[in-house]
């Protein structure tokens, strides 16, 4: 059919999210290293924060890849899996916003924007799946 079911805004969001997430990851990692030098950061907290950050990166990469593929190939399954993975990413975003050892103002800003992006993506994914 000539009509295009792939959602352009969703793709744009995926692209923005990807770039933003790279910056977010580098910034978060740098800040965690800084915090561990300046403040007293016990090993348990440091280990859990770093692990969750790397986990979040892997999850995010997978989620964005599946979402973009599903959107471009107009297949529901990958997009559905991507939607199911979204709450996991949201949970990790909330973790870094609320339950880190030290939450700086910069952390609040970064994580809020990330959660906003997740929210918008989720809405658009639902709409796109409904359209397929």
């Amino acid at each position: 059919s000539s009509s295009q079911l792939s959602s352009v805004p969703l793709q744009v969001l995926f692209w923005v999210n990807g770039i933003y997430y790279v910056c977010y990851f580098i910034a978060s990692l740098a800040m965690i290293f800084c915090k561990s030098e300046v403040y007293s950061y016990p090993d348990g907290f440091l280990f859990s924060d770093l692990t969750l950050l790397f986990l979040m990166a892997i999850l995010e990469a997978l989620r964005l890849y599946l979402g973009a593929r599903g959107n471009l190939t107009e297949a529901e399954a990958p997009l559905g899996i991507s939607l199911v993975m979204t709450p996991g990413s949201v949970f990790l975003g909330v973790y870094f916003l609320l339950w880190q050892a030290y939450v700086l103002k910069a952390d609040v800003v970064l994580n809020s924007v990330l959660l906003l992006l997740y929210g918008l993506e989720a809405v658009l994914k639902l709409k796109t799946i409904a359209a397929f």
Binding site: S40, D43, Y102
Partner: protein, 550 residues
């Protein structure tokens, strides 16, 4: 997900100290510090006298995004000037300020656990190895615990801590700004103090004024250790009664309280001086307290009296030894000097004997004191102690008439210059004990004559020499570490200069000056720098480094 996108507001980490109560310039206990606007002991009248606030702002941790700040300022426009106190929330503009923490001990030092017999094994297991990590879960955190208090056994008095009594502190009234007595000066443990201040009195109200009655100074008992219930009563050691013309008599007999009362127009038993003597143990506990009083009388014209107060501390089972320094001499304290006891031959005496010292430390080593009328023969017995570091010159004038016999004059002058008990040994350190004879420096005596060689011939003809000057030279050196050098006396030389007394024709008289002087000379050698050895790289391979091949 929408809800999660809105961040829940989190409060920042709880502040450990209350900034409204923290005051770093409040140094004096129960007294107002000058220019300290946060001092709770200051009243509004005292705030109006300040010029600036030395502590204008007290902020909580400035790394937090929002912290409480207490701002103190003086409003100089108002009449009288008043202090303004504002408690505001200050926010940190930096983007890296701490918004929240989830780690309880994040921004404060946690109190380290004190080893007791119960937790010693666990602490040794945790911290006894070469490294350990700060795991918050494994510490026995007790946020209610005060710093290292474990009942009464860890409390003790330390130097400078105010001595506590049942109601407040042991007070030693002292002049604060003017010479009027202020009763808010606490006595510090092991701080020997002596103060004099003025108290306003009147005969009519003398029974009502608390501060002139003996009861005020001994009614509250001292706590043996801080914050305990063990009390030490203050006993009355002695009472000296001073009459209106200044004569003092010791009261013997019962040491009951003598309270002020009005008798024949005078108010008697008014406290003029209190001297506390506290006995302490070496664990910082007070076991005895005694007070010696001087009571006097005031008459109708008296508007104010001068009271003197003192406190001294003695360790239990020791005799208080007057030291002139510990160990080096302190400038201004008298030189300690003594004699070898009679009958001990040298050198056996050096090993076995202890030196005999005058109990009054100001009479051990003295020189002639100049008096107003400058007549040597009238200056009987006026002597002044030699104080370390103070060069002194004194003298008098001797009027010689023809009738004076030379030998008698010579002996009198020698007694005058040297005094009755001129010592033989001087202590090299301020705390030298009398039984360590090797710590004492013998005084070297020299005699010189004022003549030149040509007059030496005439000297042989009329062999009458009278001493005219005594010069004591004390050579001292700096001993010990460079940052805290101690003064140590190395050598004491007493030089007597004599002159010939020519026979005067009858009726004539001559005046010659007699002088005595003390000079302190510093002969310390200059400090030489000592350099540490250059660090070397000490590399040695282990002997089995090339194992299979060697």
């Amino acid at each position: 997900t929408r809800a999660a996108a809105r961040a829940r507001p989190l409060s920042g980490p709880a502040p450990v100290t209350d900034v409204a109560k923290l005051c770093v310039c409040d140094l004096l206990v129960a007294e107002c510090d000058v220019n300290c606007c946060c001092d709770p002991d200051c009243s509004a009248a005292e705030f109006s006298l300040f010029t600036t606030c030395s502590v204008p702002i007290v902020i909580g941790d400035s790394r937090l995004c929002s912290q409480k700040a207490a701002i103190y300022s003086l409003d100089v426009e108002a009449n009288p000037p008043e202090r303004i106190f504002k408690l505001i929330d200050q926010s940190n503009p930096s983007i890296f300020c701490i918004h929240a923490t989830n780690y309880k001990e994040a921004l404060s030092f946690s109190p380290s656990p004190v080893p007791t017999s119960e937790n010693f094994d666990q602490l040794l297991e945790e911290f006894g190895s070469a490294s350990f990590s700060a795991e918050p879960g494994s510490w026995n955190m007790n946020t209610d615990a005060q710093d290292s208090s474990d009942g009464n056994e860890t409390y003790r008095y330390e130097y400078g801590v105010p001595i506590q009594t049942v109601d407040a502190f042991l007070r030693l009234p002292s002049p604060v700004v003017s010479s009027w007595c202020s009763d808010a000066n606490p006595a510090g443990f092991l701080v020997n103090q002596a103060t004099k201040c003025t108290r306003s009195v009147s005969v009519e109200k003398c029974v009502d004024i608390q501060a002139v009655s003996m009861l005020f100074y001994i009614n509250s008992s001292i706590l043996a250790v801080p914050q305990s219930s063990q009390m030490v009563n203050i006993t009355v050691q002695s009472i000296v009664v001073q009459s209106l013309n200044g004569m003092q008599t010791l009261v013997n007999g019962s040491d009951g309280l003598r309270l002020p009362m009005i008798l024949a127009g005078l108010c008697i038993n008014v406290v003029l001086g209190v001297s506390y003597h506290i006995t302490y143990t070496d664990t910082g506990e007070i076991i005895e307290a005694a007070a010696a009083f001087v009571l006097g009388a005031i008459n109708k014209e008296a508007l104010a009296i001068q009271q003197s107060f003192g406190i001294s501390f003695t360790q239990v089972n020791t005799e208080p030894v007057p030291l002139s320094g510990n160990p080096g001499y302190v400038v201004g304290l008298p030189l300690r000097a003594g004699f070898k006891p009679q009958g001990y031959p040298f050198p056996v005496g050096i090993v076995c004997a202890a030196l005999v010292l005058n109990t009054n430390k100001y009479s051990q080593f003295t020189i002639l004191q100049s008096i107003a009328n400058q007549d040597c023969l009238a200056a009987q017995g006026a002597r002044t102690p030699i104080l370390f570091g103070y060069n002194m010159v004194s003298g008098c004038k001797l009027r010689i008439t023809s009738a004076m016999k030379c030998q008698l004059l010579s002996q009198t002058l020698l007694d005058l210059l040297k005094g009755q008990n001129f010592p033989e040994y001087v202590a090299s350190f301020g705390n030298s004990q009398a039984q360590d004879v090797l710590d004492w420096v013998p005084i070297t005596h020299l005699h010189t004559s004022e003549q030149t060689m040509r007059e030496f011939i005439t000297l042989l003809q009329s062999s009458c020499q009278i001493p005219v000057s005594l010069e004591i030279e004390v050579k001292w050196t700096k001993y010990g570490s460079l940052v805290n050098p101690q003064a140590r006396i190395v050598n004491v030389t007493a030089t007597i200069t004599s002159t010939t007394l020519q026979q005067l024709p009858s009726g004539r008289e001559r005046i010659i000056p007699i002088t005595s002087s003390v000079v302190f000379t510093d002969i310390s050698s200059p400090a030489e720098p000592g350099y540490k050895a250059w660090p070397t790289i000490n590399v040695k391979l282990p002997f089995d480094f090339f194992f299979p091949f060697v």
